[in-house]
């Protein structure tokens, strides 16, 4: 019974709050006595700071304080991997979004006015904007104290894959595709710009509300700038207006600056960003330059040599982790015997880059899935046949030596379902290949792309999560999980997982938005890990709660503890006529003075990684996806019109179908934006397109109706049987569109966003 009840259409716990406008986002909050702060930028790209003059600004009306790096109580330098990020610039300006001061004033307008009075005195340095310049042995250093493999240089990290002997084997191939692909920075464009509200509590704790996707990371940044213990900071959740990977570092830093201001002026401080500040300062998806040499022998991908350089920009952020995923997935979901991959992250003065939905896969997929298509064309076979020959199957070994045997390898399944749904092979015959039909200006093309993706963090980092289920004595249940609701529907999914495991109605469960002072650090809500990791912890906590309840209630139910059953929103004994409802169960627990309270922790199964050879079981489980698209290209204007988009993704087990499909559609749309529209127009290190009128994300009229196919193969390594879907949906549409444009125009486009110049 509970199965059906808990499979509603379109349910989420915060839907009514959001559709009525009652949901409170950070900037919607007010605190008595609250004041405002704004950032001040230095209009340089690369410069040595001599002085930040604040006197004039300090005497402006309403101004309470103007804070620079000198006022930082703890450390202005912090970061998730390297402590290189200047929350307030101290020694140098490293990119055009570096903040030199914050102005705190009674009103936001006063703070904005005063901010123009802050003066930066600096000596300009030569900006390093080109990746090869940054890599040169004699390059100017962005971070003079940074050391990589024993020498001072701009390289943040170097990942490798060494499998077989790719260099030698390329010479033995029938042909080698030798191509360079480039992708640009992408702005997350969460609809809610960054906002933070910090309240200095009488007990000495700094209470933090913020538009962030990682309360635990935020707590670390705040504690660093204040120089306090983690217990002296409590980060509370509010509704967040989207993240897509983008509300980690920058959002945490905005919170940290507000906390510093609150500590110094002794009042609650709010910082809410203008969109221009957000686009100027926040990190972006890494631009990649990818040089692939793919060797084909006997109709198979025999060897791949690839050198990739990722532009980390001014600060490292999570570049080593982003590029690790690109390294592991650099050959797509194919069986390749010989691989030689060198992947570098490098510092430049171009913005700064970090996590964005996909996390290093959208870039490599853009290259690999086009190369596969080009190989098939050269072989004069269909790309469907070519992919079938080369794709990973149950028991296959990945390029890092991982045997795919502990879950269902559903690559073939997502592939077939997508092709059937869009009717690929029949429609492929209609492709224009550069020749429009008589009297038409439209070229037609269909294209697809295929991928596999390691779940959660894998070899990137520590991967564990926790859940608290706190049943009350009236039978109602509080659920708290160390996973953050960014808008994706995490809370609803976790409620449904708990309800299913406990056999209760979902209405019995209230989600308690986590506080960093209550639940243990569960890591960041990134890497599509909310459902798999948070859901895993929830299932483990629910099982523990059932054991606690069974141990106490078995007496009342006249059976052994192991005979107690949980379904139908009740607790049953051996037979269906002996039961307690939850209200009775709660009362009994109280009378027995036993707490129906359970803590659950899920630790990801062990992964392995050898940095020297790039071999190991990089991720404990994998998901598989395929997307396809039909489009037309106008021969006169070069305009691309999307006509139909289909996606099939394997998700382990579907928890909340409407929300799951929402992830599909949103991811596909964002992938289309990446490849067709989105361009920040970075000129000499300055972002020209600084607002949503010039940075163009997909509109409703840019997109066709889409179709999503959910493939379920329960994953034995996931306690909830579910896996993640947020990122896989965003890593395939770009190459699918590039392939469709290729099939329409007969031309290849190697850079994002694709610009179809002139008359075709």
């Amino acid at each position: 019974m509970s199965e059906d009840v808990n499979k509603p259409r379109g349910w989420r716990n915060d839907a009514i709050a959001k559709v009525t406008g009652r949901a409170k986002y950070c900037d919607d909050l007010k605190i008595h006595g609250m004041v405002h702060a704004v950032p001040v930028y230095g209009d340089e790209i690369h410069a040595r700071i001599l002085a930040v003059e604040t006197e004039q600004a300090q005497s402006a009306p309403g101004v309470l304080a103007v804070l620079t790096a000198k006022d930082v109580v703890g450390s202005t330098r912090f970061g998730q991997i390297f402590r290189d990020h200047r929350m307030l610039a101290d020694d140098k300006i490293r990119y055009n979004g570096d903040v030199i001061a914050i102005v705190v004033a009674e009103t936001r307008a006063q703070a904005v006015t005063a901010s123009s009075l802050v003066r930066l005195e600096a000596v300009p340095l030569r900006p390093i904007l080109d990746l090869e310049d940054a890599l040169a042995d004699d390059s100017i250093l962005i971070h003079e104290d940074h050391v990589h493999e024993g020498r001072h240089c701009n390289i943040t990290n170097h990942h490798k894959v060494r499998r077989g002997d790719a260099r030698a084997e390329l010479a033995r191939c029938d042909f080698v595709l030798d191509e360079v692909f480039e992708t640009r920075q992408v702005e997350h464009s969460y609809m809610e710009p960054e906002s933070a509200l910090c309240v200095p509590r009488p007990d000495g704790v700094m209470e933090v509300y913020g538009s962030m996707q990682h309360p635990f990371s935020t707590r670390k940044f705040v504690a660093a700038i204040l120089g306090t213990a983690l217990t002296d900071v409590e980060v509370r959740s509010v509704s967040v207006g989207g993240g897509f990977g983008g509300k980690d570092d920058t959002a945490a830093i905005v919170c940290a600056r507000a906390a510093l201001a609150a500590r110094i002026v002794g009042r609650a401080v709010k910082i809410t960003y203008d969109r221009e500040w957000s686009i100027r300062e926040s990190y972006k998806r890494h631009p990649y330059k990818m040089h692939y040499r793919m060797g084909i022998k006997d109709g198979r991908i025999h060897a791949v040599e690839v050198r990739i350089v990722a532009d980390a920009g001014a600060y490292c952020s999570v570049t080593p982790w982003v590029t690790l995923r690109s390294t592991v997935q650099c050959c797509g979901p194919y069986d390749v015997a010989h691989v030689h991959c060198d992947m570098y992250g490098v510092y430049t003065n171009n913005g700064f880059t970090g996590a964005m939905r996909g996390f290093g896969s959208p870039q490599v997929n853009f290259a690999v899935e086009q190369l596969v298509e080009m190989a098939a064309l050269r072989l004069e076979i269909s790309s469907v046949e070519f992919r079938k020959r080369n794709m990973l199957r149950q028991g296959s070994t990945t390029i890092t030596g991982q045997v795919l045997s502990e879950h269902t390898v559903s690559l073939g399944q997502v592939f077939e379902e997508t092709l059937n749904k869009i009717d690929y092979e029949r429609k492929y015959a209609r492709c224009s290949h550069g020749r429009p039909e008589e009297g038409s200006d439209e070229l037609y093309g269909i294209g697809m792309a295929l991928s596999y993706r390691g779940m959660s963090l894998g070899a990137e980092g520590m991967d564990f999560n926790s859940a608290i289920i706190n049943m009350q004595f009236d039978g109602s249940i509080l659920l708290e999980v160390a996973i953050h609701e960014n808008g994706q529907g995490a809370e609803s999914a976790l409620i449904l997982i708990a309800a299913r495991e406990l056999g209760v109605r979902k209405e019995r469960i209230r989600y308690r938005q986590p506080s960093t002072s209550n639940i243990p650090d569960g890591g960041t809500t990134v890497a599509s890990r909310g459902t798999i990791m948070g859901g895993g912890a929830t299932v483990i906590a629910a099982r523990r709660l059932k054991r606690i309840l069974a141990g106490v209630l078995c007496g009342k139910l006249g059976c052994e503890p192991e005979e107690v059953r949980f379904f139908n929103d009740r607790v049953y004994g051996k037979t269906d006529d002996v039961f307690l409802d939850y209200e009775q169960a709660g009362r009994e627990m109280c009378l027995e003075q036993e707490y129906p309270y359970a803590f659950g922790a899920f630790k990801a199964p062990r992964v392995s990684w050898d940095e020297a050879t790039g071999q190991g079981n990089a991720y404990f489980t994998w998901v598989y996806g395929c997307q396809a698209v039909e489009l037309t290209v106008n021969t006169k204007t070069g305009k691309v019109k999307l006509q139909n988009m289909v996606a099939a993704h394997e998700v382990g087990k579907a928890i909340n179908r409407e929300m799951l499909l929402g992830q599909f559609y949103g991811g596909m749309a964002m992938g289309a934006g990446f490849v067709l529209f989105e361009d920040l127009n970075v000129r000499e290190g300055r972002i020209v397109s600084r607002n949503l009128n010039t940075y163009r994300i997909p509109r409703a009229t840019d997109l066709p109706d889409m179709q999503g196919i959910i493939i379920e193969n329960e994953d034995p390594l996931s306690p909830s049987k579910a896996k993640g879907v947020g990122e896989p949906t965003n890593e395939l549409m770009a190459p699918a569109i590039a392939n469709a444009i290729g099939n329409a125009t007969g031309k290849r486009y190697f850079k994002t966003p694709i610009r179809i110049e002139g008359v075709l």
């Binding site: 559709v19 009525t20 406008g21 967040v240 207006g241 964002m670 949503l692 409703a700």
Partner: protein, 154 residues
């Protein structure tokens, strides 16, 4: 006395509101925080409200714009007693809500469309909401919701 009607109730506008950004007046002075700041240049539509049943980007106007007019914000959409308007219900049922930041303005924009055209095609719906940006949903379930709610306007 300068008056306006907001969500069905008559309201006296202070002199200062006439020069203030309408979005800021609604949010900061009246605590009607359903209208959101997303860009400040009228590009994202998150601040949209209805003035005399027409979509207005409140970040681009001052309080002067609503003098003597009828304003509807998201806070005025639900029926008295809190029952959701059928259009709001459709958004919930179709999974058209993710982060929710664009949702209030999206609902109001759809409401304005359906008041004028109670039987729109999917293309007409897409056109009507094309000035409202959403980064989460890919718009599909929003279009579904608006289409299914249309019958309540006939």
């Amino acid at each position: 006395m300068i008056t306006t009607t907001i969500n069905g109730r008559s309201h006296v506008l202070p002199e200062s509101a006439l020069r203030q950004s309408l979005l800021s007046y609604l949010r900061e002075d009246l605590d009607l925080t359903g209208a959101k700041y997303g860009c400040g240049v009228g590009a994202c539509g998150a601040c949209s409200i209805l003035v005399d049943k027409t979509v207005v980007k409140s970040c681009r106007q001052t309080g002067l714009y609503i003098v003597g007019k009828n304003v509807l914000t998201i806070e005025g959409m639900a029926r008295p007693g809190g029952e959701l308007h059928p259009l709001q219900k459709a958004f919930v049922d179709h999974g058209a809500i993710q982060c929710g930041f664009c949702t209030p303005a999206m609902v109001l924009t759809a409401h304005a469309l359906l008041l004028k055209n109670s039987n729109p095609t999917r293309d007409e719906i897409r056109k009507a909401i094309s000035a409202n940006l959403c980064r989460c949903t890919g718009y599909q379930q929003i279009v579904d919701a608006i289409q299914s709610a249309a019958e309540h306007y006939r």
